[in-house]
Each structure stands twice: as C-alpha cells, then as structure tokens.
C-alpha cells in the first residue's frame, strides 16, 4: 500500500498564519466570544474580477489552498476534497434575508448560486481548471476528517498521486446570533474566557480555512506522514479510551509510542471532560497540546489542529503557547489528534515523522 504525506499547508485563521513563521506572533484574546480572522491580502491571491462575487469563506479557502499549493510546488491534482460543517453561510443568509425581506420578489441569483456547500471546492477547481474528482463533506466536526479519509483512500488504494484537502468555515451574522441564543457560544457575562479549566458552557467561536497538499511521495517540503484517520458519530465518555487503544493497535502502536497528543479542548464545561479524562489517565505522561484558544471553535477547527501538529513534527518543537502540560520529548515522531464536538463527531488523526 502506498503512503500518504503532507507536503504543503496553508492556513487562514484568527492568528497571523499566512505570512509568518509557525505561531511566531500570537494573540490570546479572552474578551471576545467570537474571534475575528487575521485577514490576508486577498488581492495577492485573487483577481478583483474573480473576487467580486466571492464571500469571505471562498476567498479564505482560495488563499489557504494557494499557500499549500505554492509550498508543495504542485500543479495538478487528482482530487480536490473539502470539508465544511456549515457551508457558505454568508451567501445562504444573504439570499434568505432577501427572500424574506422582499416577500420572494426581486431576488437575484448570485448569492443562491454561491450558497451551496461545494462552492469553495468548485471555485478552486475553476481557478486551477482542474477537472478531477471534487467532493465536499458536511458533517459537523468531522467534515474535515471525512475529507482526509477520502483523500487517504484515493492515495493509498486508488492511483491518485496528489490530492488537495481543506477545511473551511465562515461565520455569518445571524448564524452567530442563533448560536449565541442556543448557548453554543459563550455568554458575554462569562468573560474572561478561557479554554483550559473553564467552568462555563459554550465556546468561543470563529472561522477559518486550512488546506493541505497530500501526496503519495515524500519531498523536501514534507511535514509528516498522515498515518490514519477514523471518525465515530457517537462515543460515551467511557468508550473513548478503548476506541483509542484499538485505533492505535490497528497502527501497531500503543499510547507509549505517542510523543504528543493534540486535544480539541474548547472550554465548554459540559463536554471538555472527554479530553480531561484522557489527559489525566491514558495521557498523563504524554506531552499534551491544545489550540482552540488560538483558532476559536468551529466545525473545521480540527484542520487548524492538524496544521499545528504537522508543524510540531516538522520543527520538532512544541511552542509554549500551546502546551497543556510541561512535558517534553527529545523527538516528536508520532502525534495523535483527538477531537469531538458536544459529545458527537469524534475523530482520531495520527501523523508520524517520516
């Protein structure tokens, strides 16, 4: 079976991640319950004619994918696969508002056309003139991991050589309001917000786009090998450890072989016990990493997590700002990521040093 390597990455996030070295300039914000993106200069990546209809999610996806493509030096893809839990929320809301406000009259098509979940993948294909396989996964917090599983299958079993994979999420005005009403986003009265040791429900929300070039051959820019990915719709807190051990066993590993774990802590007191339980038992001697205090929570935040983990392997170093505990390892060879959202959509992702 062929292997799957991460050969390029690109990331647009609440941190300056487009034109800086890995997490060299970070901002920790504990007063906003929705984190704003550090916006790239779109004109460097997209012509004004092409950009004029694009919502921010599409633009961010194009920038992040362009960075990944540039780094990997690839021209042709056998597949473009995206994940997005909420899809193109901005254009969906725009069309829906126009529809409701004008009582179904005088509607124009542009926002409807761009409201479908596969808009980002389609626009990237259009830009690259890539007629290859093009899929979009839309399953909450495993949207991105579903795309990864598909990509791995293509590379390992189905003759693909290079695949572009990404996770994109954009927040829209009313959707954010709804998530505040539902309690998914932390209340303003709960400020200051923290991700570790939080005692309040809900999360600090955000958006972002993270892309990866995956390939079946290793090259100079290779970050790591994407060894395995698994998703589960539901796991009870007491089932996670056993599932995790089985997942590692499938890869001929045990917990002791892990040099770091990247946990999806998001500061929701009702669900972070999924992570703390593992952190205090199975992983109590393993270096632990968290990242959602930097990226915020959103359906494809775990793609930011994979970007972090890939950089840790490449640089063989865990920056202080993302450490949960103070453990270090002389070498970072195997890193496991574990993520879930509100007790659903669990994922394990394993990457290894080449």
């Amino acid at each position: 079976m062929k292997k799957c390597y991460i050969n390029g990455t690109g990331c647009v996030s609440a941190q300056k991640t487009v034109d800086t070295a890995f997490l060299e300039e970070i901002v920790i914000n504990d007063t906003h319950n929705v984190l704003e993106l550090a916006l790239p200069n779109y004109k460097d990546f997209i012509s004004p004619v092409a950009a004029r209809r694009m919502a921010k999610g599409v633009k961010n996806g194009i920038v992040a994918s362009a960075k990944a493509i540039q780094e990997a030096g690839v021209q042709y893809f056998d597949a473009i696969i995206t994940g997005t839990g909420m899809g193109c929320s901005v254009d969906s809301e725009k069309f829906l508002k126009a529809l409701l406000d004008n009582n179904e009259e005088f509607l124009t098509p542009t926002s409807f056309i761009q409201s479908t979940h596969n808009t980002v993948g389609a626009q990237i294909a259009l830009g690259l003139q890539c007629k290859a396989y093009n899929f979009t996964y839309v399953n909450g917090a495993v949207s991105f991991e579903s795309a990864l599983i598909d990509a791995k299958m293509q590379l390992e079993d189905e003759d693909a050589h290079t695949v572009l994979v990404g996770g994109i999420e954009e927040s829209a005005e009313n959707t954010l309001e709804f998530l505040k009403m539902s309690g998914a986003i932390k209340a303003t009265s709960d400020v200051p917000y923290k991700v570790l040791g939080s005692d309040t429900p809900g999360v600090v929300f955000s958006e972002g786009a993270t892309f990866f070039v995956l390939a079946d051959t290793q090259q100079e820019t290779t970050y790591a090998q994407l060894t395995d990915v698994a998703i589960y719709n539901l796991l009870e807190p007491d089932e996670v450890a056993a599932k995790l051990k089985a997942f590692l066993k499938n890869n001929n590993l045990t917990v002791n072989d892990l040099d770091a774990v990247v946990l999806g802590f998001n500061g929701d007191v009702n669900y972070d016990s999924y992570y703390t339980t593992l952190a205090n038992t199975l992983f109590n001697t393993t270096p632990q990493v968290y990242y959602k205090h930097l990226s915020g929570e959103f359906n494809t935040a775990s793609a930011f997590g994979l970007w972090v983990a890939s950089n840790v392997i490449k640089l063989q170093h865990i920056p202080q700002a993302i450490k949960v505990n103070n453990l270090d390892r002389p070498q970072y060879k195997n890193i496991l990521l574990y993520n879930q959202y509100r007790g659903q959509d669990h994922s394990f992702t394993l990457i290894s040093k080449c």
Binding site: P48, R52, F106, P109
Partner: protein, 85 residues
Amino acid sequence: MEALKQELKEKIINILNLEDITPEDVNDNDPLFGDGLGLDSIDALELIVMLDKDYGIKLADPKEGKAIFQSIETMAAYISEKRTK
C-alpha cells in the same frame, strides 16, 4: 438619455460589485459581456432583475437579455422605450 446612461453605469458597477472600475471607464458602446467588461450569464440574470425592480420591465426569457445588454447604449435605448417606472 445621458443621465440614464450615467445612472446605468453606476448601477452596474454597484450591483455587480465591479471594484476598481468607475463610470468613466465604461464607454457607451463598449461591449458589456465577453471582451468588454467581462460580464457573464450570472450577471445577465442580475441585470434582468434590475430591469424589473428599477424600471418595471419584465423579461420572460433570459435569452432576450442578450440583445438588450450589448452595451450601455442598447440598454439605455431599450429602457427608455419600455420603462413603466
């Protein structure tokens, strides 16, 4: 007629989000689609709605738009003849 043409240029730039273009950049006889401003079929549908909303002109068939939207000149001529508001 000149006022209508100016109005149309401003509207098109605004509705179609044509950043970096000013009304002065658009000549009355420049083709709007293809090589000229580079508009496409989605823009045509936006313009059809504008005809309806702002001038009270309803087009039943999107194909009719092709002749009308050739240039600012043809649009202005059509609108001034058919407008109901």
